[in-house]
């Protein structure tokens, strides 16, 4: 196997409080170059915090992130800035992540100027090329964000991330604010850019169907921990963790003749400030084998009998539900 481009080791991010909020509680994930890892979870699972912490948009509580072998958390200001050229992020809400007082052209020029990537004489041509790459006409350079539709704004957000020629992009819910017809355009664009520029993606989303269309590997988060991780096809056709099974069964299917049994979980997701003892999922777990062990002993993320690449954090991952 090739060395991973990004290697997260036991990442922890707690927010201070009484008790502290354990947003990310020991996450280890690796992404191979050119691959897309889909990170899936519901609100409060900690998935966005993972994305922001590996870019050091917020400082970690503990753990290590290696990017191309370099220890991201050990870098000083100057090398960190250099690293930010290699690692970029596309946010969910293009409405609030673009400066309303900057034209699209200026938004795209700014990172190029900061990193001194393009001589002034070639700036115009570079901006045009970037717009073209994300499917926008040159005329957009003179427009302001409020003059654009949601899909166009998200294309600008992607162009801005691409401008510094990164190898790795955190896509944090990049299509959740978009209508389906436009969502498909943006997902296809991300896939095309990945192929063309050999990009590596961490694709964070709550929508399992969207992730299926873009991810090679999928990790499912619940209350700050990874509960299952596997190649995408294996997760969708043979989920092992009861939470993943419930999540998949709850996705409404656009087929009125669907016969799939919906597993309706009881209760809400507990607060990450008060995670349950033992397996964090046990209070909502519908698994018939659930017992005292689940209430006291947190299951480790381990290889299941399916394959060494299919990991699940459940004492009864191999048992039918």
């Amino acid at each position: 196997m090739t060395a991973p481009l990004l290697d997260m080791q036991n990442l922890v991010k707690h927010y201070p409080g009484h008790p502290p909020v354990r947003a990310v509680d020991g996450v280890s994930l690796a992404i191979a170059p050119g691959q897309t890892l889909g990170l899936v979870g519901e609100s409060g699972s900690g998935k966005s915090t993972v994305g922001r912490t590996i870019l050091r948009l917020q400082e970690p509580t503990a753990g290590r992130v290696l990017f191309g072998g370099e220890d991201v958390f050990a870098l000083g200001t100057a090398p960190l800035r250099a690293l930010r050229r290699r690692m970029q992020i596309v946010f969910q809400d293009p409405y609030s992540s673009l400066n309303p007082r900057m034209t699209v052209g200026r938004t795209l020029r700014e990172p190029l100027e900061i990193h001194r990537l393009v001589p002034p004489a070639q700036m115009e041509a570079r901006v045009t090329a970037l717009l073209d790459e994300v499917g926008l006409d040159t005329a957009f350079a003179g427009r302001y964000p409020h003059e654009l539709s949601g899909g166009q704004r998200q294309r600008v957000g992607i162009a801005r991330a691409l401008s510094v020629e990164p190898r790795f992009i955190v896509c944090d819910e990049p299509v959740s604010a978009l209508d389906v017809s436009v969502q498909a355009q943006v997902l296809n664009l991300l896939a095309d850019l990945q192929r063309k520029r050999s990009l590596t993606y961490l694709f964070i989303a709550h929508d399992l169907a969207v992730v299926r269309h873009i991810a090679d590997q999928v990790a499912v988060m619940y209350l700050g921990r990874i509960v299952e991780r596997a190649p995408a096809a294996a997760i969708y056709t043979g989920p092992r963790h009861p939470y993943t099974r419930a999540l998949l069964s709850a996705v409404p299917e656009p087929n009125p003749r669907a016969t799939r049994e919906r597993i309706v979980l009881s209760g809400d997701i507990p607060s990450p400030a008060h995670p349950p003892a033992g397996c964090p999922f046990h209070p909502r777990c519908p698994h018939p084998k659930k017992n005292d062990r689940c209430r006291t002993e947190a299951p480790a993320l381990r290889a299941t009998s399916d394959s060494p690449a299919h990991l699940a954090a459940c004492h009864f991952a191999e048992e039918p539900m």
């Binding site: 355009q185 896939a191 299926r212 087929n255 009125p256």
Partner: protein
């Protein structure tokens, strides 16, 4: 055949835009019927007019800048809601026709307890005493599956989770046992496991209370699971109507087809999605002819000039606003 409970006829709701940039024809001649006990899904993307339609039914459109055009009819049990006096309308709104909104946090009043907010409608519409209304509120919280209802009744909205708040909204809407529930994106702000709970709850309550539900959503998956019949909206108009199975078995309108192809499927392996090119036009400048023609893979000259009416297929319960219904030979095989 049973009479419809709610009949919307040629509804036109327009908005005057700022700086005189013209009139936004947000809802532009919408007609449909809602029958007792059924769930009718209205599906469409942002800007198609589905929410303005639902707000128009209860006359919740702010005037100005909005206004419902003369000639529009919204009949509830034979009475036109658009011509009722305010007092008569109040007797129906929240009582016989109730509504659940998308954002429970912004639709609940943060300074009143959930019990007070549920009891309010019972006091106003049914003349209940405060004490009886409070008991009724607890009963409603039990009905919508909130644990410890006798305690929760005194809680404020911020003390509840998103799913609980949506349950409270539903309890508020149902306290007077309405005949019609309008649910506008009732699960859009919720996580998928909580969405499953709320959809199951709506199902159960509809069966128990025998009400008709007008379900407004952008999610074809939600429609497929909940609705008996579907109205598809695009650019302020109804573009297709059908039974839910009829629609999914054989969509007639290219927009509906495009929408179905664009939805990511949980059972399809990693692959490209079929996107609909372009975007929804502005409500101040709908395209000429068929409003979908600039994005349609099949469009020919007629589509750019002449606006198609809703054309029926077979026994007429499946209609589409598309010339292809009359001229199927024009369909391009290699498109989509």
């Amino acid at each position: 055949m049973t009479e419809p409970l709610l009949r919307v006829r040629d509804l036109k709701t327009y908005f005057v835009t700022e700086q005189g940039r013209g009139t936004a024809r947000a809802v532009d001649g919408v007609s449909f019927e809602l029958y007792p006990g059924e769930t009718l899904g209205i599906v469409g993307e942002s800007g198609c007019g589905k929410t303005v339609t639902s707000l128009s039914i209860l006359r919740l459109i702010p005037e100005p800048p909005g206004h419902i055009r003369p000639g529009s009819v919204i009949e509830f049990e034979g009475r036109n809601l658009l011509t009722l006096a305010p007092a008569e309308l109040r007797a129906i709104r929240g009582n016989q026709i109730a509504m659940v909104f998308q954002e429970p946090m912004t639709s609940l009043n943060p300074v009143f307890t959930v019990g007070d907010q549920i009891a309010e409608a019972a006091i106003i519409h049914q003349g209940m005493s405060r004490k009886a209304a409070r008991a009724r509120a607890i009963e409603m919280l039990t009905l919508v599956g909130i644990p410890d209802p006798a305690e929760r009744v005194d809680h404020y909205p911020h003390q509840l989770s998103g799913g609980m708040r949506q349950r409270v909204m539903i309890a508020m809407a149902l306290v007077c046992h309405p005949k019609v529930l309008i649910a506008d994106e009732p699960t859009t702000a919720l996580d998928v496991t909580i969405q499953a709970q709320i959809l199951e709850l709506l199902d159960r309550l509809q069966t128990e209370l025998g009400m008709a539900v007008l379900l407004i959503t952008h999610d074809l998956g939600v429609v497929a699971g909940q609705a008996d019949r579907v109205v598809v909206m695009y650019a302020g108009q109804v573009v297709e109507t059908a039974s839910t199975t009829g629609l999914f078995d054989g969509p007639l309108h290219p927009y509906t087809e495009g929408l179905m192809a664009a939805v990511p499927r949980i059972d399809a392996p990693k692959s490209r999605l079929q996107a609909i090119p372009g975007q929804v036009p502005a409500a101040t400048a709908w395209p000429s002819g068929c409003r979908f023609h600039p994005r349609c893979p099949h469009a020919w000259t007629k589509c750019t000039i002449e606006e198609p009416p809703l054309l029926g297929l077979g026994d007429g319960d499946h209609t589409a606003r598309c010339w292809l219904v009359q001229e199927p030979g024009r369909r391009k095989r290699d498109a989509q």
